[in-house]
């Protein structure tokens, strides 16, 4: 097939042009999402308007939006460390669950410890819980080259089934009259509020800065990037690739585990099987949109938290299923993934006549190639 344009690779795109392409693709994605909503008989302007008012319309709604931004951002940081290495950790949900499980185990058995001791203990347990859950696939990847995508994903189901088992079995609250729930934490195990928001936001901000500095200014962070860019380069430079994979995945899983601790402590006040709420998956989208940059991740996650909170709100206000968020998220990322093409390649209009001539390998009249 002969097309009237020519595609050539280009090296780098000016920053403002790259930003323009990104914004344009998000706008197009929102327009297409609107068309999809229209198709289902919904008024897109009303739906998008309600998402905005539902997420920012009052102090309480802003608080709800931020409460969603905290786990999403920390989870995205965890995904970022793995993705930078091109280790496709899609086991975030399971790592969150196992972090929550470990934190809950500490909280339920040591409820009378004072908060300043109990909360850090829970955090450490959660980091270990999530980290170990991520290390299992990482070990197989590092030692044998086992496919990590399916492995990490299967670990999600196992973790969720395990917590469900605890909730309906050995950890069931005997005082709940047969209702399958795990006993609530003591007050000491609940993260305190700081300026009207649970203290998870402080952890989030510290971690954004820490991951940014780690990835950009430390040797280990650099090594993770090199392993992601080219395994051969990493080996040629004498890096211990296995060790780097293990370290990076402990950090990745540890951060996701910490999400579990924050959610169990500040939101649920206990362990539930639905605790991860899809944050481990949404974090894949936000991390990729933020182009694996920790600072950008924070802002992308704030925007996506608006979308999540707004979607919850339209379920109540307009009786529209909140799963609409999944569709909009998907469409946005489709467009951004597609738009990357225009950052990496130059599409040049050359007209059909010249395209035919070039395809036939004929010498060109007056149209010197660059």
């Amino acid at each position: 097939m002969i097309l009237p344009f020519k595609i050539a690779k280009r090296d780098d795109v000016p920053k403002n042009k790259a930003a323009l392409i990104l914004i344009l693709s998000i706008v197009l994605a929102l327009v297409l999402s609107g068309v999809v909503l229209l198709f289902f008989g919904l008024n897109p302007i009303k739906v998008f308007g309600t998402i905005v008012t539902g997420s920012l319309g009052s102090a309480m709604r802003i608080q709800q939006t931020l409460i969603k931004a905290i786990p999403l951002t920390i989870a995205s940081l965890g995904i970022l460390v793995a993705f930078k290495m091109k280790f496709w950790n899609i086991g975030g949900e399971g790592q969150i669950m196992m972090g929550a499980f470990a934190a809950s185990w500490v909280a339920l058995n040591n409820g009378d410890l004072p908060s300043p001791i109990l909360l850090p203990l829970m955090a450490v347990a959660a980091i270990v819980g999530g980290g170990v859950w991520a290390l299992i696939p990482a070990l197989f990847k590092a030692r044998m080259g086992t496919n990590e995508t399916i492995f990490t994903l299967m670990m999600n189901y196992i973790a969720i089934k395990f917590v469900t088992y605890l909730q309906y079995g050995p950890w069931k609250d005997p005082a709940a009259k047969g209702f399958p729930k795990i006993p609530a934490f003591s007050g000491n195990a609940v993260l305190p509020n700081v300026f009207g928001l649970h203290a998870g936001w402080i952890i989030m901000i510290i971690l954004v800065a820490a991951v940014f500095l780690f990835m950009n200014y430390t040797k280990k962070g650099y090594e993770i990037t090199v392993v992601g860019e080219s395994l051969d380069t990493a080996r040629y430079a004498g890096m211990n690739v296995s060790a780097i994979i293990l370290v990076a995945m402990s950090i990745s899983g540890g951060l996701l585990g910490l999400v579990g601790m924050v959610q169990a402590s500040a939101i649920e006040h206990t362990l539930t099987w639905g605790l991860s709420s899809g944050y481990g998956f949404t974090a894949i989208i936000t991390t990729w949109l933020a182009r694996l940059n920790a600072i950008t991740t924070l802002f992308v996650c704030l925007a996506f938290a608006m979308l999540l909170q707004g979607a919850d709100y339209i379920q109540l206000a307009l009786n529209v299923p909140s799963s609409v968020a999944g569709i909009v998220e998907g469409i946005i990322l489709f467009f951004v993934l597609g738009s990357d093409f225009f950052l990496r390649y130059r599409v040049q209009w050359i007209g059909l006549a010249r395209a035919r001539a070039e395809a036939d390998g004929l010498p060109l009249r007056g149209g010197a190639a660059e």
């Binding site: 595609i7 050539a8 690779k9 289902f40 496709w88 899609i90 197989f140 044998m144 080259g145 086992t146 496919n147 995508t149 399916i150 492995f151 994903l153 299967m154 670990m155 189901y157 196992i158 089934k161 395990f162 469900t164 088992y165 309906y168 079995g169 998956f281 949404t282 894949i284 989208i285 990729w288 299923p321 799963s323 609409v324 968020a325 999944g326 569709i327 909009v328 998220e329 998907g330 469409i331 990322l333 489709f334 993934l337 597609g338 990357d340 093409f341 990496r344 390649y345």
Partner: protein
């Protein structure tokens, strides 16, 4: 035992369709991790079509089209726009999950119409169905299952005995060489990604129309990912894909059988079986040395003629 194996075949069908779909996609050189999403899209559209038309043929067609449509998005982004295959596939899964729970929301708890259920009831094949042991296991099933058998044979013939199949494998093994010998690379990739997606859609539809048969959110529950693992387990071979699906079908209902035989195991631990087994299979499949067991050489390698 016969009843258990016959039920295993039924449980294997969604896996078989999805595994064959992903197998075709990967043979042509693309790794589409959106199987779970495409199955969900096929499930919901298949169910809705069945629910409103009562026509089983239309339901299958709708399911195929929905899976193929999801795959088409993947093809545009990864083939034409050269986007990252892993992330695009993951996005397709997230999109498909949102799509199916959004579109299916008003129908939660509704059953498949009687006419469609009757169409997909077991229909013994005269003669074959009377063979001792094999008959009750394989040949007293529903039409969907027979379609699955036929598909295994057709895909095998297509891959290994036809010129089309040879061209397609050439693209997956060595894209540049296939291109140089005049095979239309983009067309091959598009065609097989889209057809493979259609099969994934049918796999999802089997769950919603025959296996359950009513609408519930997230009917697929990880089977799409198990299918991705089964492709590796089956060494990209359709016949082995059949036996792999059969094995996993058996595993997924094993827990129920054990419980009904009086073993005291928590349902939630039993539910872990297929997922643990998938991990074991992925680990065991890691070390493969025989040439015919290896993945297509150019699997998930982006191709741009001018870059070579």
């Amino acid at each position: 035992m016969e009843a258990f194996l016959a039920a295993s075949i039924v449980a294997a069908m969604p896996l078989l369709f999805a595994t064959l779909g992903e197998l075709i996609t990967e043979k042509s050189g693309s790794l589409n991790l959106g199987v779970e999403g495409m199955m969900l899209m096929g499930a919901v559209i298949g169910f809705i079509t069945a629910f409103y038309t009562g026509n089983p043929g239309a339901a299958l067609l709708g399911a195929f089209a929905a899976g193929a449509g999801g795959a088409l998005i993947f093809a545009v982004i990864t083939v034409t726009l050269r986007g990252n295959q892993v992330v695009t596939g993951l996005t397709l899964t997230i999109f498909g999950t949102g799509f199916s729970s959004f579109v299916g929301d008003p129908l939660i708890g509704q059953s498949v119409p009687q006419a469609v259920q009757a169409y997909f009831a077991a229909r013994p094949i005269p003669g074959l169905g009377d063979i001792p042991f094999l008959g009750p296991v394989f040949f007293r099933q529903d039409v969907f299952v027979y379609l699955g058998y036929v598909l295994v044979v057709l895909v095998s013939i297509y891959l290994y005995k036809t010129r089309f199949g040879l061209n397609m494998r050439a693209v997956g093994e060595n894209t540049a060489a296939a291109d140089a010998s005049g095979v239309n690379v983009d067309f091959q990739k598009y065609a097989h990604i889209v057809f493979g997606g259609g099969l994934c859609g049918l796999g999802g539809a089997y769950l919603a129309l025959v296996f359950v048969p009513m609408w519930q959110a997230d009917v697929v529950t990880g089977r799409g990912w198990i299918a991705v693992a089964l492709v590796i387990f089956a060494s990209w071979n359709p016949t082995k894909a059949f036996f792999g699906s059969f094995l996993f079908g058996a595993l997924s209902i094993l827990g129920l059988r054990l419980q009904s035989m009086g073993f005291q195991i928590s349902q939630y631990l039993v539910d872990m079986f297929p997922y643990v087994a998938t991990i074991v299979i992925v680990i065991l499949s890691t070390h493969k040395n025989r040439k015919e067991d290896l993945p297509p050489a150019d699997l998930s390698v982006p191709y741009f003629r001018e870059e070579r």
